[in-house]
Amino acid sequence: MKQAIEVHSLTRRYDDLVAVNHIHFSVQEGEIFGFLGPNGAGKTTTVRMLSGLITPTEGEARLLGFDLRTQTKKVKAHIGVVQDISNLYPDLTCYYNLIFSAQMYGVPKGERGKRALGLLERFDLLEKKEKKFLTLSRGMKRKLTIACALIHHPPLLFLDEPTLGLDVRAVRMMHRLIKEVNQEGVTVFLTTHQIAEAGKLCDRIAIINKGKILALDTVQGIRNRASAQPSIRVSFDRNEGLSPELSALPSVAGVRTQRDHFHLSAGNLPLALTEITKFAEGKGLIITSLHTEEPSLEEAFVQLTGIKAEKMK
C-alpha cells in the first residue's frame, strides 16, 4: 500500500522548548490515522508543520509524494485541513465561505457553485446557505469548516480535534461524517486527546507525549502491547468492608473500589472467577453482577504514557 504521509525525524523547537522531538511515522493511503495525546503533547504542532503553516526546525516529510520543504504549495493544494477551531469568516454567508475556499484551492469557476451546493446538501446545511457563518450553532460551524476543507476533493484530510466542544449528538454526527469521508477514499489524519474517539475511529494510532511518539500500532496492537491484565467488575448484595478480603485472594492483583462495585485486576482470569465465587459462598454473599473485561485502550494508554486517563478528558 502507498504511503500518504512519510515523516522522518520531524522536529519543531520554540526557543528552548522542543514541541516535537524527532518523530518518525508513516500513514497509509486510505486509513484513518489517529494522533493521540494530552494537551501540549505536540499533536497540533505536528499538524501545523505537515500542513505548511509552520516550518519544521529539522527533519523531512513527504505528503502524497510531495516534499514538504521544497513543494509546499503542491502539498497545500492536495490536502484539506480542519484546525482545532472553526475559523471560517464570520461575516460571510455559508455559501460564500465555500466559494472562497474553492477559489483559493483553484476549483474551476464552473464547478465552484455546484460543489458548494453539493456540500451544503450533504452536510445538511442547505437551508443555511445564505446565513452568515457567525449565526450557526457550534456543530454546524464545525460541519461547514469540514465542508470547506473538502471542496477541492483532497485525497488527504487533517482533522485537528474535530469534536472539541461539541455536544454528544454533534460528536456522533461528526464521527459518522469522518467514517463516510474515509470510506470515499480520503486518508484521514486525526488528532485527538479523547482515547475513546481514537479507539472508535482509527485504524492505527500513534500515542504522542512531550513531543515524542511512545507507541504506534493498531488499536488492538496497542492493547496487546500494554501488559494490562484482564479485569473483573463484581458487586455483591453487601459491599461494605470487602475490599481487603478481595485483595487477599491469591489470583487478584489489585482492587479498586468504585461506587457500587469492585474492579479487580486478575492475573489468571478463570482462577480468579472461581476464587470470587467461593469467596461469596463462604461469606454468604450474593453476587449481584459480574463482568469480565479485556484491558481497554485507556488502560493501555495509561500504562504506556504514565498519564492518568482523567487528564485526557
Binding site: R48, G52, L53, K73, K74, V81, Q83, L88, G106
Partner: protein, 245 residues
Amino acid sequence: MKDELIKAWFIALKDLRAYYFKPPTISWGILFPLVFALAFLLRNPQGVKDLAPGLIAMSLIFGTTSMSTASIMFERRIGSFERLILAPVTMWGVALGKVLGGVIFGLLVSVVMIPVAVLFFKASLINPAVLVLAVLLSSFLFSAFGCFLTLIIKGEVDAMTLANAARLPMIFLSGIFIPLVSFPLGLQIVACGLPLTYGVEALRYAFLGSVDLIPPLPALGAMLGGGIFFLWASQKALQRRRKNP
C-alpha cells in the same frame, strides 16, 4: 504568477465583502477624515482650497490603512488568517491580496473625497493624469504600509493603535497644514521619510500645479518604490511567522 494574482484578487474581494462595514474601517477610514475636513471648512471657509490635496491624501491614508489593518487584525484574532497561509498561495499572494483590498477601499474613499474637495473646498483640478496616478500609488503605498505595520506586530498589541501612532504624527509632519518649506531642515528630512508626504506633494501638484519640496515624478516614483518595499517586507514578515510563530 497569474495564479498568484488571481488568488490575491479573490482575497481582496473577500476582504471587501467582509470588512467594508466593520466599525474600525468606517470610523477611522471615512468618518475621521471627513470630520477633520469639516472642522477646517467651518473654521476658515475661504482658506481651505490649499488644504484640499492634503485632506484627500489624509483620507486615503486613513481609509487604506484602516482597511488592511482591520482585515488582518480581525482575522488574526479569530484564527481565520491562518486559512490564507494554509491555502496553496505564496506569501507574496497573501500580502498582495491584503494590500489590494486596501487599495480598492482607498479608491472608493477617493470617489467620495475628490468631489467633496472640488465642490466644498473649491479646489480646481489642474492635472488629471497626475491625480489618477497619485490616488492609485498613494493607495498602494499606504495600504502596503498598513499591512506591514500589522504583520510585524506579535502578541495582543492592537494594530489599530500602532497604525494611529504612525498616522497621527504624519498629519502634522507631511505638509498638509504647514508647508514643508517652512520646516527646519531636520523636520524636512523627517518629512521625506514619511509615506504621506509623497501623496500630499503629488496631489498638491494635481490640484494646485505647485509643490513644496518634491516634484511630481520623484513623488510618484517614491510611492511606487515604497509600496513595493512594504509589500516585500509584508511577505517577509509572513514568512518569518512561519519560522517563528
